[in-house]
């Protein structure tokens, strides 16, 4: 019996036309069976009904920079509520003629954040820039020296306050959370139980009640005459709260590490800290990037809860604008603007995390 002849190397054929290209894409994604075709048509109908009217309201008929009266007369959106009050929404009760100072501080923050995006920039100079930058930002906000007019922290508000609470909150909560996660897996019972109790206590309490405690109950325990800045108290509450959640996520990552990685590191003679820092944490923290970013994003949004202890973050300043009779009733526009602001913050975080994840897994399988 003769064997069928086998070519040395079978030639590569092109896939059938109907599965590739634009037509192929439309077929597989939009009209793949009758149910999918029906859903596609329904979706198209809904989009046709909603998008054009919204577009007309938001852009064509909109009032962009008018007084409140003119706004009421128009059919479309009244973006004037944002444009006319932008400085109050952004800076709150910070003295009007000094707005350049928080503005400069925010620009410095954004530049630093932007520089920190690239991992190739993670060198000592960046750390020093952050230290100097944070000092300068604090100086700009507070004033009091170098001929800068002092501004009480009770006058701070708006976007700088939100950013302050978030950036410090997240950067301090992350390492604290990692330490708690390591502590919870410690072989020393005292440390382990301390971490368990801390994590469970904090997670068992809503952030709002922590903020209340920080602002109302905590001062009762302080000796007379000593007060701790209200923003600082809120800041600490946010850090403690977020850290407990990060700790549990990181613990999940630590548990996902195979035992062999610990053993390989230990058999080289690395001590506990080296093993954790060089071998275990880089891998474990990478695994938990997605849930960690979820926590950081929700912590960023949760900073708006500081309104309940009468701090004027950017949400509260927006609300205050709406209580002005001239602008009453334009809450839709104001909140859309606010939502965009928060979305920008959250989206850049998740975007960055995806970039980081991709870079860190380069070459690995």
């Amino acid at each position: 019996m003769a064997y069928p002849e086998v070519q040395d190397k079978a030639e590569d054929l092109k896939p059938p036309v109907i599965q590739v290209g634009v037509i192929g894409w439309i077929r597989t994604n939009l009209f793949n069976g009758w149910l999918s075709s029906l859903l596609t048509l329904v979706s198209l109908y809904i989009l046709a009904k909603t998008v054009p009217p919204f577009f007309r309201w938001a852009f064509l008929d909109a009032a962009w920079n008018t007084a409140g009266e003119a706004c009421r007369a128009s059919q479309g959106a009244c973006w004037s509520v944002v444009t006319k009050n932008l400085r109050f929404i952004i800076f709150g009760f910070y003295p009007y003629h000094l707005h350049w100072r928080p503005l400069l501080a925010m620009i410095m923050l954004f530049v630093l954040l932007f520089l920190s995006r690239e991992r190739s920039n993670w060198k000592p100079w960046l750390l020093y820039s952050w230290l100097i930058g944070l000092g300068a930002m604090g100086l700009l906000m507070r004033g009091g020296i170098l001929g800068l007019e002092p501004v009480e922290s009770s006058q701070w508000g708006g976007l700088p306050l939100t950013l302050l609470l978030s950036v410090f909150g997240l950067t301090a909560a992350y390492p604290l959370g990692v330490i708690l996660a390591l502590g919870r897996r410690s072989r020393m019972p005292a440390i382990r139980y301390l971490c368990v109790v801390y994590i469970e206590l904090i997670r068992g309490v809503p952030l709002i009640s922590l903020l209340f405690m920080a602002s109302i109950i905590f001062p009762l325990f302080l000796p007379e005459g000593i007060t701790i800045n209200k923003i600082l108290r809120a800041q600490v509450a946010i850090i403690l709260f977020t850290a407990a959640y990060i700790a549990e996520v990181v613990r999940g990552g630590l548990q996902a590490m195979p035992k062999g990685q610990y053993e390989a590191a230990e058999s080289l003679g690395l001590n506990y800290y080296q093993t954790m820092r060089l071998v275990i944490l880089p891998q474990a923290l990478k695994i938990v990037i997605p849930p960690t970013v979820s926590i950081l994003i929700s912590a960023f949004k949760d900073t708006s809860l500081v309104v309940i202890i009468a701090l004027f973050d950017v949400l509260k300043t927006t609300q205050s604008v709406l209580s002005n009779p001239e602008w009453m009733g334009f809450s839709r526009e104001a909140y859309i603007f606010l939502a965009l602001l928060y979305f920008l913050g959250c989206f850049s975080m998740s975007n960055y995390s995806r970039k980081l994840e991709k870079e860190l897994s380069a070459g690995e399988l």
Partner: protein, 258 residues
Amino acid sequence: MNSKSNNTSELQHDRQAIIQIIDMHKWFGEFHVLKGINLEVQKKERIVICGPSGSGKSTLIRCINRLEEHQRGRIIVDGIELTNNIKNIEKIRAEVGMVFQHFNLFPHLTILENLTLGPIWVRKVPRKEAEETAMYYLEKVHIAEQAHKYPGQLSGGQQQRVAIARSLCMAPKVMLFDEPTSALDPEMIKEVLDVMIELAQEGMTMIVVTHEMGFAKSVAHRVLFMDYGQIVESNTPEEFFANPRHERTKLFLSQILH
């Protein structure tokens, strides 16, 4: 084998125990894994440990660098007794290289970084020097061209050779191999065994847990057979394979050498 008999005579001259295990016991919970192990390993000696699975052979060599803690008896490595003193344990681990069944390379580091991690952080060798040493050993395990890849991009056999090189970079006095070829595809076993044979020819002290009896015959000075947590038989490979004394050894050999 000529080279081996030379080595054996060399051993006679240089009788000096690098590992001493005296009446060592180990329990996993209630389970008595190791029951009174006595073993002395000379410098440059090569020992192969075989035995059925669950006989405690892996546990035995994992006790030598304290990946497992023994509960009774003494283990002395290079003059240092293994106790709970963590500094001593780290010192011993730096002198004892270990190669695992599943390689356990660090997947987030390149091959080169895998090799330099120990020397840089434990031995405090300058980075440049550590990299030169690493390249030397990669050359030795015939894999230098892969230095800048990640472990996940290498085949199993290549990964295991990297793991051997990683241990060698620490300039260990003893190398422990825990079933180094058991997780490999058949066509990759030889490349790893070849590297181990080269290492043996250079006079490395080795303790190898393996089922590769060909390797045992050609390289070992002594073959140990373990069963139920005890060393049942210990002999030169010639005697061990030709005239096994114990019934259990005979049974095991008949099962393993078809």
